[in-house]
């Protein structure tokens, strides 16, 4: 039968075709960056890839990427979390009250806020997992509840400013312990090591694949991809180093991305989340505690949302009642642009990070160009639609 047929051939073209989604997103990101570089220079004569702008890009979008990591798991499990924007606002408010009003030190406030995030996730996950109330409803309620609690906690006012130690969560940089001066040698070294590890891991995985007889991707592809990735990393690293160094947020982001990528692809629990989203009944009959797994994905989402909440508060240097409004949409859009399936069961961490970066680069580029918020929304909406149509089209082909 037709569906039994598999595209044969082992050329580069065939490989590209098989991994169209992953490579396509990466290419789209590169294309968008180049496009903005050209347009921004041509129209207003500014360097889009300036050190300052690259630093800004990460600072502005770190919260979306961080939450998208957790949202991927929620969506893979077949659920959705609409409350993350309000949780961002709420935990930011709690952090403000604890540090600014009560004067507690940062090393107490951060764990307390993360714990509160976990509790919020647990409270929502409990109804979703064990009472089978649709996540859309529960988190819609959560969205209202936590926005209301934010207003109540802040009395409708901005609370700030934060002490330096708390601000450094978002606006801090890794101190230059090796060089001192520009470019920041420590940042360069860290990035170089990171790039080296990426290439080394790829090489090791390739060797292992060969050992077990999995057809590896063509050598040309492997080299080309790694050269591009390593070069991009080094370029970004160099730019960051020549400005103020490596932002703390970028380090947190990098570590979390690696951690979640490893979790989803290499651990038994990660695998089970995908099985749960792919076919919950079959997963359950295979001895997987699906209820607890759903519960835990929401706890995890709560923790990441509270981390994002603190980063946002630290960046604005105050907690506002409106912090995080609409964030859930950016995060969910990033996950779907990154290739997650609407019905659950599929999606990759690296795709989600690229998806979030695409959204971020577009936000940033369009703002520099002075495109109005009205057009920006239209364009972002169309990009989301196009990415998903591209997915569906590929699946049906």
């Amino acid at each position: 039968m037709a569906d039994g047929a598999v595209a044969g051939g082992k050329g580069i073209g065939a490989h590209l075709g098989g991994h169209l989604r992953e490579n396509g997103m990466l290419m789209a990101l590169v294309a968008i960056v180049l496009l903005f570089t050209v347009i921004v220079r041509g129209l207003i004569g500014v360097d889009f890839l300036s050190a300052q702008n690259i630093t800004n890009l990460f600072l502005q979008n770190s919260y979306v990427i961080i939450m998208a990591l957790g949202m991927l798991l929620v969506i893979v499990a077949g659920h959705i979390d609409l409350s993350v924007g309000s949780v961002v606002g709420f935990t930011g408010a709690v952090a403000a009250v604890l540090t600014v009003n009560m004067g507690l030190p940062v090393f107490v406030v951060i764990p307390v806020c993360l714990l509160i995030g976990a509790c919020i996730g647990a409270a929502q996950g409990y109804w979703i997992a064990y009472w089978r109330i649709p996540s859309f409803i529960v988190t819609l309620a959560g969205m209202l509840v936590f926005r209301g609690l934010t207003l109540w906690l802040l009395n409708g006012q901005n609370v700030g400013p934060f002490p330096k130690s708390f601000q450094s969560l978002s606006t801090g940089f890794i101190p230059d312990v090796i060089g001192a001066g520009k470019p920041n040698v420590t940042a360069l070294v860290i990035i170089a090591i990171a790039a080296g590890i990426v290439v080394w891991l790829g090489w090791r995985a390739r060797g292992r694949d060969e050992k077990f007889g999995i057809t590896p991707e063509p050598m040309v592809m492997f080299v080309a991809r790694n050269v591009v990735v390593a070069a991009a990393l080094m370029f970004v690293g160099y730019k960051l180093a020549s400005f103020r160094g490596l932002p703390n947020v970028v380090v947190v982001l990098g570590l979390l991305t690696v951690l979640y990528a490893f979790f989803t692809e290499n651990t038994t629990t990660g695998r089970r989340v995908y099985a749960l989203g792919g076919n919950e009944k079959a997963a359950k009959l295979s001895g997987i505690n699906t209820d607890r797994l759903v519960f835990l994905t929401f706890v995890n989402m709560g923790v990441l949302a509270s981390l994002a909440g603190m980063i946002v508060a630290a960046r604005l240097n105050s907690s506002t009642p409106k912090a995080g409004v609409g964030f859930e949409l950016d995060v969910i859009a990033a996950v779907f642009i990154g290739g997650a399936s609407m019905t659950g069961g599929s999606g990759k961490i690296i795709g989600v990070v690229v998806g979030a970066l695409i959204m971020g680069v577009m936000n940033n580029g369009m703002s520099i160009l002075g495109i109005g918020i009205d057009y920006q929304q239209v364009i972002k909406g169309l990009v989301l639609l196009a990415a998903v149509i591209f997915d569906v089209y590929n699946k049906n082909k």
Binding site: M1, V6, T268, T269, A275, G278, L285, S286, G287, S341
Partner: protein, 510 residues
């Protein structure tokens, strides 16, 4: 008899595969024409060509229907000509009433306003024709599969059907519902409706069909009249070889008792006071295949699923012993740890993650077996999958193929592999050969024999009595949640099994 339909030299090519290669099919006016073939032989593709799912121009060859060439652009065109196909998966809306379903897309309406009295009146007429006595307002979801199948036929009748195509209509039906459906086909034939019946069940075909076309590997092999056919001949044409034995040979060699279930009671999960399993006690020996016979809906699946991690029902009581020791099977994880495995009857809904590759499906129930401290070794995982691919002869270009792309038989082998990888002592196989073709059935039987040869115990639940008689050392007969009796291989026969089932019915009448 005039020729109603003639399909000549139909060739349909998908990228990389020739699904149909010059297939010919001639259907006479007023006959029941059966189409037989292994899964993947091209039966469904042929029917999709006929019904316009693949529009005119996307295939080669010609179709003459009612004396004129037939060029369909879609299902609507073929339906307008009275060609109606009923698919294996029913296309009814469970939450709507019978009347609403019958006239879905074809409503009894004027200017978009439904005329309910007329609609109900017509519905009653149609229901009478198919021998149902339900109220037109009954929700379809509340009917059993057998009745739903009849509703599908009534729906076809509502559209003035001339050529009715049924794709494995009895695959999900139990014996007496199947009989009713076949009787209805014969009745429709008397009224002049021509039918094409796609089926795996040879006894049904020989009962109702006038002629048979056998398709193998995308070509029509032969068309036979029913007087001239024997089941052996059909099987030979289908698989392309003689199949002297439908069940592989095995010398029974039962050992000590492996699993013992005593006083098992299960209540319905929603309806309070409805007991589904009543005081069931069964045992399985080492190296033994034990059958559970009974009609569908008599509690066989409920028994199996409640034993396996209390996956069905509530207020479960009774004991399970493995190797003489009482074990806890109250969650799936514990049941697996106790050495139990349950291979579901519904592999697509309950057995497989369809969009995942073979390799991930095989290791799903025992991820610890390919992981070190919760970190999965991809290499080891692939080795395991390759081993089962070889041992089970799963036909696939690669173990990274998504299982959704496999045929029914190969999917079943993946489910079996998954459970074997948990190294169970006792496997409960629920309808292990449902919806798979003759060749793959034989392979599944062979695997079962290997399992018992390794000293495992197998419980086989099946609605097909010949299969139970051919494979089992011992057969429990179940009805209405009770074990009605137990037959050894020597004692068992279709008549005696039916007699045990009916014992209850007569007792109830008396």
């Amino acid at each position: 008899m005039a020729t109603l339909l003639e399909m000549r030299g139909i060739t349909k090519v998908f990228p990389g595969v020739k699904a149909l290669d010059h297939v010919n099919l001639t259907v006479e006016q007023g006959e029941i024409h059966a189409i037989c073939g292994e899964n993947g032989a091209g039966k469904s593709t042929l029917m999709k060509v006929l019904s316009g799912v693949y529009p005119h121009g996307s295939y080669e060859g010609e179709i003459i229907y009612d004396g004129a060439p037939l060029h369909c652009r879609g299902i609507r065109d073929s339906e307008a000509k009275g060609i109606i196909i009923i698919h294996q998966e029913l296309a009814l809306v469970p939450l709507l009433s019978i009347a609403e379903n019958l006239f879905l897309g074809n409503e009894v309406a004027k200017n978009g306003v439904i005329n309910w009295p007329e609609c109900f009146q017509k519905t009653e007429g149609l229901l009478k024709k198919v021998g149902l006595s339900e109220a037109p307002t009954t929700q379809v979801g509340k009917l059993g599969v057998g009745k739903q199948q009849l509703i599908e036929i009534a729906k076809a009748l509502a559209k003035d059907v001339r050529l009715l195509i049924l794709d494995e209509p009895t695959a999900a039906l139990q014996e007496n519902d199947s009989q009713k459906l076949l009787d209805l086909l014969l009745e429709l034939k008397r009224q002049g409706i021509t039918s094409i019946l796609i089926s795996h069940k040879l006894n049904e075909i020989s009962r109702v069909a006038d002629r048979i076309t056998i398709i193998r590997d995308g070509t029509s092999v032969s068309t036979l009249t029913t007087d001239a056919i024997s089941e052996e001949r059909i099987i030979r044409d289908m698989v392309g070889r003689d199949m002297a034995h439908r069940y592989p040979e095995r010398t029974p060699n039962p050992g000590e008792v492996l699993m013992e279930v005593e006083g098992w009671n299960v209540w319905h999960p929603e309806q309070t006071g409805r007991q589904m399993i009543k005081d069931v006690s069964i045992h399985v020996r080492k190296g033994e295949i034990v059958g559970i016979a009974g009609l569908m809906g008599t509690g066989r699946t409920e028994l199996a699923m409640s034993l396996f991690g209390h996956s069905y029902g509530r207020n479960i009581s009774g004991t399970v012993k493995m190797g003489g020791k009482v074990v806890d099977t109250s969650t799936v994880t514990r049941a697996i740890a106790a050495g139990l495995a349950y291979v579901t009857e519904d592999r697509k809904q309950l057995g497989l993650v369809l969009e995942e590759p073979i390799v991930k499906n095989i290791t799903l129930a025992n991820l610890a077996g390919v992981a070190t401290r919760s970190v999965i070794s991809r290499g080891r995982e692939q080795q395991v999958a390759e081993e089962y691919r070889r041992a089970m002869s799963i036909r696939t270009p690669s173990v990274f193929q998504k299982v959704v792309n496999l045929s029914g038989g190969n999917q079943q082998k993946v489910v079996l592999s998954k459970w074997l990888f948990t190294d169970p002592q006792v496997l409960i196989l629920d309808e292990p050969t449902r919806g798979i073709d003759v060749g793959a059935k034989f392979e599944i039987y062979t695997i079962m024999n290997e399992l018992v040869a390794q000293g495992r115990g197998v419980v086989m639940i099946s609605s097909e009595m010949p299969e139970l008689l051919g494979m089992c050392d011992r057969i429990y007969v179940m009805n209405e949640g009770r074990i009605m009796g137990e037959l050894t291989r020597a004692e068992a026969s279709q008549e005696r099994i039916m007699a045990l089932i009916l014992k209850n019915e007569t007792a109830k009448v008396a």
